[in-house]
């Protein structure tokens, strides 16, 4: 390919560099010895990693992000998988309407949804920010859960469930013994996608904060806008390593392309 179309290859290379170079910059800055944000860094050191790991706003918000991501993913799946099952296997009336309803959170800008939740749950109802975050993220993740497991269900042979019934399995037995194992890869994909989407989310989580509650990306954003040290790059690099780990695990479990291949909006 490179030999045959030099211009196109060059363009592709330039695009890849354009997309990936920032990662190199981030890692480079994270390894800076000094206090200034420069690239290439003047002098190398691991000190900022140490600082990042002990900076309380980061460690606290990391816990918050993890809790929110886990809780929201569990809720989105616990609520979304039965709903998807009902839509695909039990042909309720208004099937298309239901699909639209479950995918609707995707149409609205996340920031707007964040504000809507903020004014209702935080300002008016006085909820804890953590509760509002979990509700908001659950709503955000529901479309992913529904869509990914839906695709898995559609691909599965509906005769499998009929076969189980014919052999004597009641609806519950069939669901847990046949349906769930068959769509397991879809559920795993949905889980990984949901965890990552929630963890990285910025716009919705921006307003849903309180004195003690903040997600990690929001904490990072706040830091970047007030302080100009390489610590933010160190945190970013740690997150980068974590993401690479997730990508590897995904590849191992269900295949990278399967989860992230078709770009989810």
């Amino acid at each position: 390919m490179i030999r045959r179309r030099p211009v196109l290859s060059l363009l592709t290379l330039a695009a890849v560099v354009f997309l990936l170079f920032p990662i190199v910059v981030v890692v480079g800055v994270a390894l800076s010895r000094g206090d200034v944000l420069t690239f290439p860094p003047s002098g190398l050191s691991l000190r900022w990693f140490g600082e990042a790991l002990t900076y309380q706003p980061f460690t606290d918000s990391l816990v918050t992000s993890a809790v929110v991501a886990a809780a929201a993913t569990v809720i989105a799946l616990a609520v979304g998988v039965p709903a998807t099952y009902a839509v695909h296997r039990r042909s309720p009336r208004g099937r298309r309407l239901l699909q639209t309803v479950f995918l609707s959170p995707l149409i609205v800008p996340e920031l707007v949804l964040g504000f809507a939740l903020f004014q209702l749950f935080l300002v008016r109802a006085g909820f804890d920010a953590l509760a509002a975050l979990i509700i908001g993220h659950s709503v955000l993740l529901l479309p992913y859960a529904v869509r990914v497991t839906g695709a898995s269900l559609e691909q599965a042979d509906p005769a499998l469930e009929e076969a189980a019934a014919g052999l004597g399995a009641g609806p519950v037995r069939t669901f847990f013994g046949v349906t769930l194992p068959v769509i397991a890869p879809g559920i795993v994909s949905a889980t990984i996608l949901s965890l990552l989407t929630s963890f990285n989310n910025v716009p919705m989580s921006l307003l849903l904060t309180s004195r003690s509650v903040q997600t990690l990306p929001v904490a990072m954003l706040e830091y970047v806008q007030t302080s100009f040290t390489p610590m933010i790059a160190a945190v970013s690099t740690l997150l980068l390593l974590l993401t690479i780990g997730v990508a590897l695990v995904t590849e191992r479990l269900v295949g990278f392309q399967r989860v992230f291949g078709r770009s989810a909006p």
Binding site: A159, L160, E162, A163, A164, G166, L167, G168, A169, P181
Partner: protein, 343 residues
């Protein structure tokens, strides 16, 4: 009453119209019944009604003498083999076959024994630990059969089980199927669109059309004595025509001779003069289609051209029907009929 399965006046609609209409069917113990018909005739629907996946809008379903119309599939004692095999991909072959026994709370020892027997019966003893994904189509089909048979069902239901296999495998598995049914003595209902399959396997055959039974009987009865135009044509009696004083009859192309118009005529045979439409070379023989003017209108008849050299499209020819091969369609109205005012 020896009927294992009985359908009484079963009817059902699917949006556009009736898919089953006043269907009466009975299957005796140990009998192998084949449901045959073109796509959309309702044969699969009938099977699903027997299995319980579909509750009919009208009528009754009786299994083992008891009314099962309201009973869900999991509480009927049926063994179904699906066209797609529907093997559980996450379970091994042995676990697949054991599934129905588990649901019936059969103890581990007996379960293992019966699973082993069933796998031996279909010739897959050594593949017990494999997963369905690792098996060929033919092997998967046998596992599906073993899984349905091991639970000792009241009736074995087969929904086009061999349609997904290539021709050679189909014939091979067909005889396997016959053997298994014989050895287990199970009552079986097979749905197929393949005539040969029905004729080879069935003790009794029912041809369906638009949700009703067009004709039923032993394969020989139905095949050699079709009673109406639909069944005749479905079974390959391409030539259906009205003979004076005899009404509607059907003749297979194999029993029709197409000769040159000037060949010596046989006074004992029924023959017509007509014009050749086309000749088709078939390897072992050549067929010819000839349009023949009849009192009710021109009819195209197809037969075998013994001396194809003497024939050509557009030229005159004679169509000779062999008398023993003329089958009167007993259920078709006798024509010509005096024009009567409809009541």
């Amino acid at each position: 009453m020896n009927h294992v399965v009985e359908l009484r006046g079963v009817g059902h609609n699917f949006g556009a119209g009736p898919v089953l209409a006043d269907l009466d069917l009975a299957v005796d113990r140990g009998e192998f019944l084949a449901l045959l018909g073109p796509s959309g005739c309702g044969k699969s629907t009938t099977l699903r009604v027997i299995a319980g996946y579909l509750r009919p809008a009208e009528g009754q379903v009786l299994i083992g003498g008891r009314d099962a119309t309201r009973v869900p599939p999991q509480r009927r004692n049926i063994g179904m083999v699906f066209q797609s095999y529907a093997l559980f991909p996450h379970l091994s072959v042995a676990e697949n076959v054991a599934f129905g026994l588990r649901m019936r709370k059969v103890g581990k020892l007996e379960r293992t024994r019966r699973v082993g027997e069933a796998l031996e019966l279909v010739g897959l003893g050594q593949l017990a630990a494999r997963k369905p994904g690792q098996l060929s189509g033919g092997q998967q089909q046998r596992v599906a059969l073993a899984r349905a048979v091991v639970i000792r069902p009241d009736v074995l239901l087969l929904d086009e089980p061999l349609s997904n296999l290539d021709a050679r495998l189909r014939i091979q598995l067909r005889s396997e199927l016959a053997r298994v049914q014989r050895e287990t003595g199970l009552t079986a209902v097979l749905v197929t669109h393949d005539q040969e399959e029905a004729l080879a396997l069935a003790d009794r055959m029912a041809v369906l059309r638009d949700g009703r039974i067009a004709q039923q009987g032993s394969p020989r009865e139905v095949f050699e004595r079709p009673r109406n135009r639909f069944v005749a044509q479905f079974l390959g009696y391409e030539n259906v025509l009205a003979l004076p004083d005899r009404g509607e009859v059907a003749v297979r192309p194999e029993h029709v001779r197409i000769e040159a118009a000037d060949a010596a005529a046989d006074p004992s045979a029924v023959s017509f003069e007509g014009v050749v439409d086309e000749l088709t070379y078939r390897g072992t023989h050549t067929t010819a289609t000839v349009t023949v003017p009849l009192p009710a209108g021109p009819v195209a008849l197809r037969g075998i051209a013994l001396s194809p050299g003497a024939l050509a499209p557009g030229r005159a020819a004679r169509v000779v029907l062999s008398e023993p091969a003329i089958v009167p369609l007993l259920d078709e109205p006798h024509r010509p009929v005096l024009e009567e005012n409809p009541v």
